[in-house]
Each structure stands twice: as structure tokens, then as C-alpha cells.
């Protein structure tokens, strides 16, 4: 029997097509990044960051994205674990609902949140929040976190569910036979094994939150020095024709997103599951 032929013409055409499509997409992504980078200069970025309203948006973006990421992991871990381990009536429906924020148009999420907080229940929640923290929700900073969270948490849940699905449930069972309660097995056996997935979910949620624009614009507005986040800055600068500032801020967002991915790769994580 002859050894395997090193690539027939059909194979060459097949793999050639795959490579050509891959290269075309890679070129598009790299082209966008290079175009952004070549359009502006370090001086323009410094000058943009010197403006108090952009510095405010910068700090607000990073702060809200961090709070959102922590909230997303806090909610995502129990929900992801439950979906991975438990079977219950209506699970398929719950699963579909959890994915809704991923597929809904971003503006619709913002609008839905706005309407939700205009209902009787929403107004009660807002009044309670105001009496507790002295600040409202709609068109205030908390609305930014809620708008980011509505989308980011869905991605965190998806990542964490995959993580828990990949862990052998027999580990928890064995732990239970050795004296653990279900809660102890989760904290001492499952969670330490899932740390990479938890970190991936956090990074993914943070990157998503940082770039969230549609829901934030509708639910929080884009008031300068108040609810303006970096994606809103890009929009506002473009709308007044300051392309240089818009590109400079875009580059900051690109750097943060790429940095997030690189950190994930460095830690051996799969950030985009």
C-alpha cells in the first residue's frame, strides 16, 4: 500500500479556499487596527486624555466595567452551575431566556430597561435605591452598570456554563461521600477547578461592558461629565466632527480589548467561548 499522498489537487483547492477566507478576515481585522493606529498620533491621544470630559469618561468606563464584571461573575457562577448540573422542567426555556440579551439589538435592551424602570415596580425599585444611596437609577451612573450588566452577564453565564459542563460531576459526588455537604463540595472542589473559567468570564464581561454603547446611550444618556462613557465619547466626538479625538478614544478602547484578550491568553484562558 502506498503511503498517504501529500495533498491531492482537490485537497489543495479545499485548504487553499479555507486559508484564503481566513486570511481575508484576518486582513480586515488587522487593517482596521492599523488604520486606527495610523490615523492618530501619541500626541493626539495625550491631548484627548487631557480634556476633563474624556478623562471623566475614561475613569467612569473603567470603573463601571469593573463593577459590572464582578456582578456578572457573582450572578454567572451560581446560574452557570445550576444550568450545568440540574435538570428541571422548563430548563430549555430558561436556557433560551438567558441567551436573549446576546441576540437582542443593543438599542432594544436599552429601551426595554428604560420602560421597565417606568413601570410601577421599576419606580419603586428606583425610589428604594434613591433612599438607600441618595442617587437615582435612570440617567444616572447606576443605570450604566445595569445596562452593561444586562448584556455582559449573559456572556459570563454562557462561559461559566461551558466551564462547569466540562468538569466531571463525579468529583462533587466523591467529595460528598467523604463528608462534604453540596455547598462544601462546590466551594472546595468545583470552584477551585473552575478558576480559569471564572477568570475568563470576568474578563469577557469586563471587555463587553467597556464597549457597551446602545443600551447605555438609551438607558443612561450621554451627558458629559455625568453618564458619558468612552463609547459615548466616540459617538459624541464624531457627531461634532472631531474625528481625531474619536479615533484617539477608539484606540484606547481597542488597546483595552486587545490587552484583555492577551491577558487571557497569557493565563491560558479561552476568553471568547
Amino acid at each position: 500500500m502506498s503511503p498517504t499522498r501529500p495533498g491531492s489537487t482537490g485537497d489543495k483547492i479545499f485548504f487553499g479556499t479555507l486559508i484564503a477566507l481566513g486570511v481575508a478576515y484576518l486582513l480586515l481585522v488587522v487593517g482596521m487596527l492599523v488604520a486606527d493606529a495610523s490615523f492618530t498620533t501619541p500626541a493626539a491621544i495625550r491631548s484627548a486624555l487631557d480634556r476633563p470630559e474624556i478623562r471623566h469618561a475614561f475613569v467612569l468606563s473603567f470603573a463601571t466595567a469593573t463593577v459590572t464584571a464582578m456582578l456578572s461573575v457573582w450572578f454567572g457562577v451560581p446560574i452557570g452551575y445550576l444550568m450545568a448540573r440540574r435538570n428541571f422542567r422548563g430548563k430549555a426555556l430558561v436556557d433560551a431566556v438567558l441567551d436573549v440579551p446576546i441576540v437582542l439589538p443593543p438599542m432594544v435592551i436599552g429601551l426595554s430597561l428604560l420602560i421597565l424602570f417606568q413601570t410601577g415596580l421599576g419606580k419603586q425599585i428606583e425610589a428604594g435605591f434613591n433612599s438607600l444611596f441618595g442617587v437615582g437609577i435612570t440617567y444616572e451612573v447606576p443605570s450604566i452598570v445595569i445596562a452593561q450588566f444586562a448584556v455582559s452577564c449573559a456572556f459570563a453565564i454562557r462561559t461559566l456554563r461551558v466551564t462547569f459542563d466540562q468538569l466531571d460531576p463525579r468529583c462533587e459526588e466523591v467529595a460528598c461521600t467523604l463528608g462534604c455537604s453540596s455547598r462544601q463540595a462546590f466551594w472546595h472542589v468545583v470552584l477551585p477547578s473552575a478558576w480559569k473559567g471564572v477568570l475568563s468570564a470576568g474578563l469577557l464581561a469586563w471587555a463587553r461592558a467597556l464597549g457597551e454603547f446602545g443600551p447605555v446611550l438609551v438607558f443612561s444618556g450621554a451627558t458629559r461629565m455625568k453618564t458619558e462613557v468612552l463609547p459615548s465619547t466616540v459617538f459624541l466626538e464624531l457627531s461634532v466632527g472631531d474625528l481625531e479625538a474619536a479615533v484617539a478614544v477608539s484606540l484606547i478602547l481597542v488597546t483595552a480589548a486587545v490587552g484583555c484578550l492577551l491577558l487571557g491568553r497569557l493565563l491560558g484562558l479561552k476568553v471568547a467561548q
Partner: protein
């Protein structure tokens, strides 16, 4: 500690086990054989409290355990393939059951040292499962199951997938452990030689029922 199953049954998906009867006296070494898919693992899971008991009565040491939590059954369970915890060292595996059963620290340290010595794991105490061979992993899983001084030890094919030398060594370990710890053992195997060598009582699972051989 004795083990008694009276007309016990369970269902896992489309698989149905039982009604099964078994009587294993305290201190005995029971060996359970049966064809692949006959439900041997399901039976061990039923005894361990990991599979629901849908009918019958399960008594461990004379106490009814139908609804007891796995943690309260005083068992040591060694599942197929060991199922070690990726993030823990060998020492942490050996300390696991004593820790969650509330032993004081000094007693836990003594127990880890004693088991490590007996199972030849002393030089591996700081290693994680990824750095262990198949035989070493099985010994760690056995040590972990024994560490909390269980009254009943459930072993699911603990010697499968081992080379002949390791198989023979672990067989001797098991016989010694049974003698030294005075623990009642129920051991699932496909290997007739293993059953002859270790078992004081032999059972066979056929058609969802347990047949006593001796």
C-alpha cells in the same frame, strides 16, 4: 460494619436495577462481579447514596440508610478511574475526609503520614494528579477513600487498567488494608483471579439481581 440490601431498586435513565438483595457481614471482603452494563457501578452508587433508592431497604451497620446523605453513611468510595481533584496535592487528597469529618489538625497530619507510608506515597505528597502515573493515582484514590476511617469501603474496579506488577502490588495493599483497618469492603471487579484472591464473599449481578456465590 454490615451491609444489607433488601429488595433495593433504582432507576438511572432507561436502566433499571433490582430488586436486589445482599447480605455482607461486618469485616467481610465482598467481591461483586457481573457483565459490562449489568449495573455494578449503579449498585455501588445506590449504596453510597449517589443514586436514588426507589424501592426496598438499605441498612448499613444495622441502621436504615434509605434517606441518609452520602456524607453520613460512614463510607469510603473509590469510583472508577479514581476521580481525583485536579487542584489538590496528594497530601490534600489524603487529608480531605478527615478535614471534613472534623478531625483535629494533629490527628489529620498523623493519618496522612500513616497512609502515605502504607501506600508508598510519601515522596509524592506535594504532587498534583497531573504529575502521577496510573498506579499512583489509584493509590491516592484508595488513600483518600480510606483516610476518614470509613466503616464500609466501596471500590469500583480499583485495579483495572494497571500493569501486572502494579496490579499485584495493589492487590496486596488491599488485602493488607482490609486486615489492618478492619473495614468491610465491597469490591467490583471483572477479574476472577482478583475475586478469588481477595474475596471472603462473592456476589454476581445478573438481570438486575444480586446472586450470592459463597
Amino acid at each position: 460494619m454490615s451491609l444489607q440490601l433488601k429488595q433495593c431498586a433504582t432507576t438511572a435513565g432507561t436502566f433499571h436495577l433490582g430488586p436486589a438483595d445482599m447480605d455482607l457481614p461486618a469485616g467481610a471482603y465482598g467481591v461483586l462481579m457481573g457483565t459490562t452494563g449489568s449495573g455494578k457501578t449503579t449498585l455501588l452508587e445506590l449504596i453510597a447514596g449517589l443514586a436514588p433508592l426507589t424501592a426496598g431497604a438499605l441498612n448499613i451497620a444495622g441502621h436504615p440508610c434509605n434517606n441518609a446523605r452520602p456524607a453520613d453513611r460512614q463510607i469510603g468510595y473509590l469510583p472508577q478511574d479514581g476521580v481525583l481533584f485536579d487542584t489538590m496535592t496528594v497530601a490534600e487528597h489524603l487529608e480531605f475526609a478527615p478535614r471534613f469529618r472534623g478531625w483535629p489538625k494533629t490527628k489529620r497530619i498523623e493519618r496522612v503520614a500513616e497512609l502515605a507510608e502504607r501506600l508508598g506515597l510519601t515522596s509524592l505528597l506535594m504532587r498534583r494528579p497531573a504529575g502521577l502515573s496510573g498506579g499512583e493515582r489509584q493509590r491516592v484514590a484508595l488513600g483518600r477513600a480510606l483516610a476518614g476511617r470509613p466503616k464500609l469501603l466501596l471500590l469500583d474496579e480499583p485495579l483495572s487498567a494497571l500493569d501486572e506488577q502494579m496490579h499485584s502490588e495493589l492487590c496486596q495493599y488491599l488485602a493488607k488494608v482490609h486486615k489492618d483497618e478492619g473495614v468491610t469492603v465491597l469490591h467490583v471487579t471483572h477479574n476472577a483471579r482478583e475475586a478469588e484472591l481477595l474475596g471472603t464473599h462473592q456476589f454476581r449481578l445478573e438481570g438486575g439481581r444480586v446472586l450470592t456465590k459463597s
